[in-house]
């Protein structure tokens, strides 16, 4: 049974209003499901509060016309009644959404969907939640510190927060983050606790890992190899920067359920192999060599057959300003093909930097578009008639073909830009 502090009990008893009561009821059920005895206070929450697909709007149309408050009550808080939803008490941000409000027509969205998103967004802001609209809050102004208790959704952001920063969050869901925004509490389970953060599996890297594609492939392999466990990666001689960690973690979280990894001598909780394992004996030691690297490349390209590419999608997870700068450089003096489309997804704050630097304009004059808020998988949006997509993200290559029923090639950013220009896939394992 979960033990409640006095203020938590007061919320559960309804003394802070019906929405916080529903939120505590949900969090208590969740803690009991986890067999967790207590909550931890959090003041850094990232979720998708109350945002509604057209399905949810329609499903709840008999409740206040499917209003923000109705969906927040009935879906987010899993309440059987609609309750008045107050402003959040904890520092909260909204992750990615379904469309770019300035380019919804490019994405093939309807005016109805656009108008719904604008209504939701106004309600989100009105409830005191920051509109970051990105899967990379750490690139848009929400950077936790080591040891900070967070309650984040978005598997790629969770693994970045835990592993690269040393922040503490489980992979939360929509319902738990929305409840945490109102209560400032989350179950004190899993990655909030020291004993849960120790490595369990050893990954020994026997090939040089330097380029972004190599980090993505190593991450994808690692996820398959360890599933939801905690890998300790050793044998890496190259210091990965932010975008390499971003791609590694997103891939590992997609093919497996990796929420925390340690890299010996690189990540904050792994000054040494011994420290990373914290006394655990590795359940398995797995080597990543040339054969594993080739196999991973083949798996990531197993949905590609036709070398005629009609769509190139970059920015999964959302592109950093460094990546947009790289794309602008690769496109300098070039034009993308008449039969191909190039979309690069990022956050609004990074896009405003790209606008300032002239990259958005440069990419547009080459025939590409910088888009915000969403991506092809989240927004279920590809250019009309797309049959074959080229991707530089292992995560997107994992999800998009199944979700959209299209073929996909996976390669370097350079391979993808080449495909955008020539309309042909010419990528090979580097």
């Amino acid at each position: 049974m979960v033990k409640l502090a006095d203020d938590e009990k007061a919320m559960l008893d309804g003394k802070s209003g019906p929405a916080r009561q529903k939120a505590m009821e949900l969090l208590v059920k969740y803690a009991e499901a986890l067999n967790c005895e207590r909550f931890v206070a959090t003041n850094n929450i990232a979720g998708v509060p109350g945002s509604s697909t057209l399905f949810l709007k329609d499903y709840y149309k008999d409740f206040d016309g499917g209003s923000y408050e109705a969906i927040f009550s009935l879906f987010d808080l899993d309440s059987d009644t609609v309750v008045p939803v107050p402003r959040v008490s904890a520092y909260s941000c909204h992750l990615q959404g379904g469309l770019d409000p300035n380019e919804w027509q490019t994405l093939g969205k309807t005016r109805e969907a656009f108008e719904h998103q604008m209504e939701d967004e106004a309600a989100v802001a009105d409830h005191g939640i920051q509109i970051m609209k990105t899967c990379t809050p750490y690139l848009a102004g929400n950077v936790p510190v080591k040891g900070e208790h967070c309650a984040w959704m978005e598997s790629s952001a969770v693994v970045f927060c835990n592993s690269v920063i040393g922040g503490r969050t489980n992979t939360e869901g929509r319902e738990s983050t929305s409840a945490a925004m109102l209560t400032g509490r989350i179950p004190d389970w899993g990655f909030h606790r020291d004993e849960f953060r120790r490595g369990t599996h050893a990954i020994e890297v026997a090939v040089p890992i330097e380029s972004m594609i190599d980090w993505g492939m190593l991450g994808y392999f690692t996820g398959y190899a360890v599933e939801e466990n905690i890998p300790v990666i050793s044998g890496v001689s190259y210091q990965p920067n932010l975008i390499r960690h971003k791609h590694f973690g997103a891939a590992a979280a997609s093919s497996g359920g990796v929420e925390l990894y340690h890299m010996v001598g690189i990540t904050p909780e792994a000054p040494s192999l011994e420290a990373a394992f914290g006394g655990n004996k590795p359940a398995e030691t797995i080597e990543y060599g040339a054969a594993e690297r080739r196999k991973t490349y083949e798996i990531l390209n197993s949905n590609g057959r036709d070398d005629n590419v009609d769509f190139v999608m970059l920015g999964c997870p959302h592109a950093s300003i460094e990546q947009i700068w790289q794309v602008a450089n690769l496109l300098e003096g070039k034009k993308i093909g008449a039969s191909t489309k190039l979309w690069i997804f990022t956050s609004r704050s990074v896009k405003s930097m790209a606008d300032t630097n002239g990259y958005t304009k440069a990419i547009r004059s080459a025939g590409g578009v910088v888009l915000t808020d969403t991506c092809s998988a989240i927004g279920l949006a590809v250019p009309k008639g797309t049959k074959v997509v080229a991707l530089d993200s292992a995560k997107q290559a994992h999800y998009l073909p199944a979700m959209m029923g299209i073929e996909a090639w996976f390669g370097t950013t350079e391979d993808c830009i080449d495909a955008a220009i020539t309309g042909k896939w010419r990528g090979e394992l580097p």
Binding site: L26, K29, Y30, A33, L34, N35, F55, Y59, F75, D78, W152, M153, E154, S155, V158, N170, T171, E172, G173, R174, E175, S176, P187, W189, G190, E227, E228, A253, S254, G256, G257, I299, S302, N303, A377, H398, Y399, P401, A402, M403
Partner: protein, 152 residues
């Protein structure tokens, strides 16, 4: 104190921990692979869609879903929550590896769910077996498919 019925040799009994309450029975759907929620299932039809999954194209609607647990996106709970709304959810879930995704998902799906078993359900239960889940009492009764045929 409850009086237990004498053990029947065609029924295998497992004991475990209640994750979420309730009682349900149905046909087992067993996979040794973890399942992704968002991007891994179609919430409108209750089927697995992940490209390389052994259950790709298979529906879990009204089944007793027996699997190691959840993986992938944090949209897991919302994707399975939606199957409750579309009436394509499983009747109950039995799993072996606890994660926040599956714990929260089980709560919002509002179906009986259990874990922490005295025997590995993935070894004992096969697809097609008839499974009664009493999460409130922490008991699972499995009637093997072969025995069902004999009694029919």
């Amino acid at each position: 104190m409850s009086v237990e019925a004498p053990p029947r040799n065609d029924v295998i009994v497992l004991h475990g921990r209640k994750v979420t309450p309730g009682v349900a029975e149905g046909e087992a759907l067993v996979t040794h692979q973890t399942i992704s929620g968002w991007g891994g299932i179609n919430s409108m039809t209750g089927t697995v869609i992940e490209t390389r999954h052994e259950l790709r194209g298979v529906s879990f609607k009204d089944k007793i879903l027996v699997y190691p647990g959840a993986k992938g996106s944090s949209g897991w709970s919302a994707a399975f929550h939606t199957t409750r709304l579309t009436k394509t959810a499983p009747r109950a879930m039995l799993f072996t590896v606890m994660t926040t995704k599956i714990a929260l998902g089980a709560v919002v799906m509002r179906i009986p769910t259990m874990t922490d078993f005295d025997r590995d359900p993935l070894q004992v239960i096969e697809t097609g077996d008839w499974v009664k889940v009493d999460a409130d009492h922490g008991v699972v009764e499995v009637t093997k498919k072969s025995h069902q045929e004999r009694h029919r």
